[in-house]
């Protein structure tokens, strides 16, 4: 059904009278019509005509701004004359360009080009910018003519030629006679841009000539940061022009040759099949090797970038590796790092050799990293030895073992976890866990029952990360073998598997089955973990204990560990009947803990309701303070209003201030109740002595945010 264009009459009438601040609803109708115009020539033409009337009429700047934006989406050559008339108007010129830059019709570029001679000052730069964005090759000549004029415009013209980056543009820039200064700077940047474009198009010779010319112009000892960056760009370009290995390589992925050439896409882990290097590639290699050994830090950085991401093929890795022993230790470190990123396993033997033989600790550290990135299973023993090293060595070796890839690496690391000292085995088991090596589960299960506590704990950490129902019996056995802090950690490991793993429910059932099969002593050990897991079966066990006076304390202790607020009514009931102060304390603490838990068991209103009830049960200020501190997890205005009055209670002021500030941290909540929050924050600032709260309150009052520092 054709679009009924009469429905646009009213919106366009509104647009004709539109200004900033007016009702924008009618514009939404036009927006929708513009979208609907895709593929509808009649509607497009109708809209274009109406929008054209706006830009040529007496409408406000806002209306014309809007019309230009819409014409930028659907405008054709038909709109060009009307838009071109706006190019000379300092208020409208930009938005006219907004449309013309996007309209693909050649007439749009013609209009922009023609305007070059009709405008002055910054408006010229605007035209230049749009012609550059259009990559308008026909603009090369007029832009080149501007290189000799006003400095600001000439600099803009040079930049534009760099964006257009045709052979003609490059030639115009090369021929430009400019004095040192802003224009010369822009010309250099533009020449580099042209060279990059030529290189990407495969024109290596022309690109190299430009890079070399720029390098010669900069000289060997630029004294400014910018000069150094230009020198690096030029030298890097020469290497890129010589390095034809990227185009020859076969790689995985979607990156095409020109992108790789232009952007030095990482080749690490790609399947590189490179034929023997060409003469130019060898020339590039020689330059890189020379720069690496030399004292020029900038050229060395350029060379190392090429090592990382260019000169593909084992032939170069081997050539570089052959130079390694003779290099100064600082250079060895740099090269090892670059080889690690390069990803060619041909370098690993050299890295291992330096790891074992270098007298420089930093070199050995760099070698460890390289072995970690490049090594295989056969390199595990050397890294395991380094785990017992000094200084930064153990941490580096640990990281390297985590990074080591390849199927045989996992096998070798598992094997290393079965031998050696207890401390070494424990460390390697942690590495196995960090690698999330599921093939190591049997190893972890066996280690969970080891006689050595450190090994057991490491195994349990691993099983916590990716154990499942089948591992529960072994984890329970480990729990029973443990004591003190180890037991607490073991308990949490079991809880994690039974609540967060992919087969959590099955794991929980396995834990309950272990409990049911256990003797009384073992049950007492396992009960806290089960309580943290929760669920109806565990609740039934706890209920039975609570009904038995001899087991009541155990049942209450278990209940105090319950993971969610579904037990709130039970807790309130028990509190009401509890005779012992210790029991009351335990129940009160549990109520405070579970009320604001971030699960979906209670909605915010219910959470707050529970906290309010709990507050009424508190006799001691320390308990009331805990209620106030927990309250800020319920991010509602009602919670805020619950907390605020306690700011006036000297005994509870700091806790209340903390929660007011914490609630104020949440911008949506704060902005929705600005006056209340401002008043409360003023109060906080008058009361608190805590520097962090003062800083935060001040920022929130000013509408700013505050970045939490992550705990290290």
């Amino acid at each position: 059904m054709p679009f009924d264009t009469t429905t646009l009459d009213s919106p366009f009438a509104a647009l004709a009278a539109f200004d900033w601040g007016a009702d924008a609803a009618p514009l939404g109708v036009i927006d929708a019509a513009v979208v609907a115009a895709h593929g509808d020539a009649a509607l497009t033409a109708d809209l274009e005509k109406r929008l054209g009337a706006i830009i040529s009429g007496a409408s406000s700047r806002a209306a014309k701004d809007y019309a230009c934006r819409k014409l930028s989406m659907i405008g054709t050559a038909a709109s060009v004359p009307g838009l071109a008339l706006l190019l000379t108007d300092p208020h409208e010129s930009h938005m006219a360009r907004f449309a013309l830059e996007r309209i693909p019709a050649p007439a749009a570029a013609d209009a922009l080009r023609q305007a070059l001679g009709n405008v002055r000052g910054d408006l010229v730069i605007g035209m230049i910018s749009s012609l550059a964005n259009r990559r308008d090759a026909a603009s090369v000549k007029p832009l080149a003519a501007l290189l000799a004029g006003d400095a600001k415009i000439a600099a803009g013209a040079a930049s534009a030629l760099g964006r257009i980056a045709t052979v003609d543009a490059a030639a115009a820039l090369a021929a430009a006679k400019v004095q040192p200064g802003p224009v010369a700077d822009a010309v250099v940047d533009a020449r580099l841009a042209c060279a990059d474009a030529l290189l990407a198009a495969g024109n290596r010779g022309a690109a190299k000539a430009i890079y070399e010319a720029v390098a010669a112009g900069i000289g060997d000892a630029p004294t400014t940061r910018r000069g150094r960056a230009l020198r690096m760009a030029a030298r890097s370009g020469v290497l890129a022009a010589l390095d034809d290995t990227i185009g020859q390589a076969i790689r995985r992925g979607f990156i095409t040759a020109w992108l790789a050439v232009a952007l030095l896409v990482p080749m690490a882990h790609a399947e590189v099949v490179a034929p023997a290097p060409s003469a130019t590639a060898k020339q590039a290699a020689e330059s890189v090797l020379a720069a690496i050994a030399a004292g020029d830090a900038d050229l060395r950085a350029v060379a190392l970038e090429r090592v990382r991401y260019g000169l593909h093929g084992t032939w170069f890795s081997e050539a570089l590796v052959a130079k390694l022993p003779a290099l100064d230790p600082r250079r060895q470190i740099e090269v090892l790092s670059a080889l690690a990123d390069r990803g060619d396993v041909a370098a690993v033997a050299a890295a291992t050799s330096l790891l074992k033989s270098s007298g420089d600790a930093d070199v050995r550290l760099a070698a460890i990293r390289a072995v970690g990135k490049l090594g295989r299973g056969a390199d595990v023993p050397a890294l395991v030895v380094a785990l017992a090293g000094e200084g930064a060595m153990p941490a580096a070796a640990r990281r390297a073992l985590v990074d080591l890839s390849g199927p045989d690496a996992a096998t070798a690391i598992r094997k290393a976890a079965e031998t050696g000292s207890a401390s070494s085995r424990a460390t390697i088991l942690d590495i196995v866990a960090e690698r999330r090596d599921r093939g190591a589960v049997p190893l972890l299960v066996a280690a969970a029952g080891d006689d050595d506590a450190a090994i057991r704990q490491a195994a349990m950490r691993g099983l916590a990360a990716f154990g499942g129902p089948n591992e529960i019996p072994a984890m329970v056995a480990s729990l029973e073998k443990s004591s003190g802090d180890e037991r607490k950690a073991a308990e949490l490991a079991i809880v994690r598997v039974c609540t967060s793993s992919r087969d959590a429910e099955a794991a929980a059932n396995a834990a309950i089955a272990s409990y049911e099969a256990a003797d009384e002593a073992s049950r007492q050990v396992l009960l806290p973990a089960l309580a943290r897991i929760g669920g109806p079966k565990v609740m039934a066990m706890i209920d039975a204990m609570l009904a038995d006076p001899a087991k009541r304390p155990q049942g209450l202790d278990a209940l105090s560990k319950w993971p969610d607020a579904t037990v709130k009514d039970r807790l309130l009931e028990l509190f009401g009947t509890a005779a012992e102060p210790k029991e009351k304390d335990l129940l009160l603490g549990t109520l405070i803990r579970i009320a604001p838990l971030p699960d979906n068991k209670l909605d915010d209103g219910q959470k707050l309701d529970l906290l309010v009830k709990t507050m009424a049960l508190c006799q001691r200020n320390e308990d009331k303070a805990k209620v106030l501190e927990r309250a800020n997890a319920i991010r509602t205005i009602e919670t805020f209003r619950f907390v605020v009055p306690y700011v006036d209670d000297p005994a509870l002021a700091e806790s209340a201030c903390g929660s007011v500030v914490e609630l104020a941290h949440h911008q949506k909540l704060r902005d929705a109740h600005k006056e209340e929050f401002t008043a409360a924050l003023d109060k906080v600032l008058g009361i608190t002595k805590n520097d962090e709260l003062i800083e935060r309150a001040t920022r929130y009052k000013a509408g700013q945010t505050w970045n939490r520092q992550k705990k290290s």
Binding site: H38, H94, I103, I128, N133, K152, G181, A229, F254, R436
Partner: protein, 426 residues
Amino acid sequence: MPKNSSPNRRRFLAASLQASAAAVAAPYVITSKALGDAVTPPASDRIVMGGIGMGNMGSGDQGAFLGRPDVQYVAVCDVRQKWRDDAKGRVDEKYGSKDCAAYIDFRELLARDDIDAVHIATPDHWHSIMTIAACRAGKDIYLQKPETLTLREGPLMIQAARRYGRVVSGGSQRVLEDYRDIVNPCWAGELGTIKSIDLATGPRSMPCYLPAVATPPDIDWDLWLGPAPWEPYNPGRCDGNFGTGGNSWRSYIDYSGGSLTDWGAHNVGGTIFAAGLLSEQPTSVTWHPATNDGHEAAYVTLVYPSGVELHCNRPKQLWPGDTAATVSHERGIVIRGTGTSITPKPVPSYRGNGGIYGDFIECVKTRERPFRDIELCVNTMTAPHMVAIAQRLERSLEWDRSAQRFMNDEEANRLLDRARREPWTL
């Protein structure tokens, strides 16, 4: 005495480029601190930094860099006086001096030859121009996310970084830090080959029609707008920090991509990092319109070269049933795989110490590419930008990565970029 930009910025270009053509050393008083001590490296080993855009995120970034013993912080820049003064005050307080320079015009800061690196946290419409200018000036850059406002900017920023050999890090610390729940199992190969992802994304930005309000004297409104279209001052245009519902610059299309790119930089970044897609860009974006009965809202699907489908805001009733090979994240992300375990890969870590900031500083020293190298950021941002364009046009599109254009859709290609207000150019 804070340095302010000259009254007539039209003469700036000549002055600034004179400065860059010769060695310009800002005054630096050699104090005993210059020699360093057990904790603080000597001045010669410290990275000299400045900050551009000192509002919310900028002041946070400043705090991170200012707190490092291997950074010497010397200059701040903001078009708003209060942000500028506060930022300078924090530096002066830290060092017990009044030496921190304060600029309105970022070009003056970039012209300083003593500054090694800058952090940029302006609104998004400035990111590309400032990054490229900083690269040309030989600076390394820590750039807040979202790193780009349009699709065309990204490749130009990457080119500048590579051309001038600069370290350019994007600023999403969350990509490595916040998404471990999905990163770890994916990289461990537990899901097998990743097949599909469901991700919640926020709305894109919208036009701004706020009325004119008298421009206060403490903001350089023309410079705040910069390359964006001229529109009258209104605090709702430029205030509000993280608001994307119409009360801050993040809401508006001339300055931001909205929550789609703002939180998208984190969520999309974390998701494609988990799924191993960081080096890729989508090949297509499919528009699924809302159903006529209103039961299914509109959504968008991106497809990557490996075949992974990333659904943005797909209605839950269209999700496949949960499989064993699924992981999810509390921020509305679900990743599904084949379930057949594959070889695990080690999850990368930051270089140096101090999170993403330390990674940047370490790379400034070693000249390696940082964890959030600009190329990876650009790949990340390609996804939400493509989503925005598909949403605006309400149709499906195909993307040619090598040409950095949409295939066979001239209207979509019009939206790759936008004309910048003179005298600003990319």
